[in-house]
């Protein structure tokens, strides 16, 4: 009984080398969405895998660390699976998931508001990934800087600078005043600037361009 089992496993390995005919990505996604509507666990997993990097990328910016980012992401995916029937297939699915992730992050921010102090800019320099090597401004460097901001600065900076919401919108989302939103953004930028200088990285145009081209 056991032999065929092993053989089978070997088969999988062998087959892995074969190139499977790749379907049109959109088609795959819409198939997965159909599966998720049927609450098929495999489709859910596939969708999760497919949007994992994108989603955790959003959540990491809002969270202070990877664990929180993952729990925000799962909260987001939970909503995705729960409300997937309401998704309008004419609109881009990525944007839909992105919106849900952002909202999950805002919920997380609100829920953790009482534990976070607004004004305290403690020494966040060592926050984030420990083993990061700061040689140049790569994704991890930038993420680490954003993560080291206090939650209220981080959230406003994310919403305004990265996602492009207006101060009025942010004020509504976070239940704060427009003034607070503006001042938080100002402080967030100041703090980031400070960190960039500390890293002793010259941020002239070339550097930025280099980053952009990466």
């Amino acid at each position: 009984m056991r032999q065929p089992f092993f053989e089978g496993v070997r088969n999988v390995y062998w087959k892995e080398g074969l190139v499977a005919p790749k379907e049109n990505q959109e088609e795959v996604i819409s198939k997965l969405i159909q599966g998720c509507i049927q609450e098929d666990r495999n489709s859910q997993k596939e969708l999760y895998r497919h949007y994992y990097a994108y989603s955790i990328g959003i959540c990491q910016r809002y969270a202070g660390n990877k664990i929180d980012a993952a729990s925000i992401m799962n909260e987001g995916f939970f909503k995705v699976f729960k409300h997937i029937k309401k998704y309008d297939s004419r609109k881009p699915f990525t944007a839909w998931i992105g919106r849900i992730m952002t909202n999950a992050a805002i919920d997380y921010y609100r829920a953790n508001l009482k534990f976070a102090s607004n004004e305290n800019i403690v020494d966040y320099d060592q926050a984030g990934s420990d083993e990061a090597i700061y040689e140049k401004l790569n994704y991890q460097d930038l993420l680490c800087m954003v993560q080291s901001l206090s939650p209220s600065y981080r959230t406003v900076f994310n919403l305004y600078a990265i996602e492009g919401y207006s101060h009025e919108e942010i004020a509504g989302m976070l239940h704060i005043s427009v003034g607070t939103s503006k001042s938080n953004l100002f402080k967030a930028r100041a703090k980031l600037m400070e960190m960039l200088k500390e890293r002793d990285v010259s941020i002239d145009k070339n550097e930025i361009d280099k980053n952009l081209s990466e």
Binding site: M1, R2, P4, F5, G8, V9, N11, V12, Y13, E16, A20, E23, Q25, V28, E39, R41, N42, Q44, K45, E46, Y48, R49, H50, Y52, A53, Y54, I56, G57, I58, Q60, R61, A70, S71, M73, N74, F77, F78, F81, L137, N138, Y139, Q140, D141, L142, L143, M145, V146, F157, Y160, A161, I162, R189, L192, M193, L196, I203, K205, I208, N211, L212
Partner: protein, 386 residues
Amino acid sequence: MEKKKLDELFREGLKNPEASYDEVHWIAMEEKLASNRKKRQGIIWLGSLSAAAAIILACLIIWWPTTRDTVVEVTEKKDSMTSKRAPVEKIIPPINDQVVKGSHIQKESRGALVAVPEKNNDHGAGRIEQVLAGIYKDTLKIHSTPDDFVGRRDGNLSLAPVYVANALLTGENTAPELKMPRKRTSAYLTILAAPDLTTVQGAGNPQLSRNMGVLYTLPLTHKLSISGGVLYARKNYNSPYSFYRPKVQRNYALTPSEVDAACDVLDVPIELSYQVYQKGATRIVVNGGASSYFMLREQYEFSYHTGDSYQDKQHINYEVNGKNNHPFGVANISATFEQQLNNKVSIGVRPFVKLPLTGVGYGRTKLESKGLAVSVSFKLGNKNTN
């Protein structure tokens, strides 16, 4: 540096996140989904239970005249002696109706029964009872094979005259109610058919499975009985491989992610039943016991993720025949709502749960089933135990 450049630096720099897929996060996600499903299943389960209750209620209403008939006839007899129950009189009119209707049928077939409406019209004084006693003595012989009536135009009537006749004949206060439970004192055979939802405990994703079999019930006392039987079940269940704990652990280069199972199982239950409620021909019995599972055939389909989301998953089939037996591996809890149709046959519905005591099958999985059985019971032996 200008604000815009700073914003842009972060916006562009954070555009393409570097994050490799972490299975741990999916496991957490899966648990989250499973617990949610469990909650919802609870609601569905509750729903089906209440649906079952509604069916039973409907049955009660449909068959209520039968029940009332017997009760009233019985109490009417009492009336003449002790007149204990007042509300009975209110129920009398419909009975009049029925008996009269019934008497028509009987008129056609048996002359001896003409007396029936008479009795009802006069509403029992001792005098009539005497008259009746005389008449019933004759009719009793015909009536004492009430089964003859069943299946005729008015089955309702079959029970009623017997009791009156019995009561009148004996002329004592031999609480006739006792005779109802006594009927149960003979053993009976139950045929069950049951769909159920089977799942590996905690994995969610229940699959429809079917069960069929027979139960033999032997009464111990009026309320207590013991039963045993054999059920054939085809259990379908689907779970992540993480729920599998095979006896022989092997290290694979690749661990299966998902397992689809279809097992032919011989389910041998032994259970103790206690009758918690009875009125007329309706009764409710709670059953508790354990089942032994004999795995006749286990078919598993292991799915492997190849890492490429666009590539089809790899499947491997695995089959075990008759290797795994689990004596008393599963606990049974159920309730039977039963309605007696006639002296020999009753029908019932039985919501049940089967909870794992041990792991079942090759994967030692904790199999859990919830379902609703429909049953038909036949009384064994023709002797009347009165």
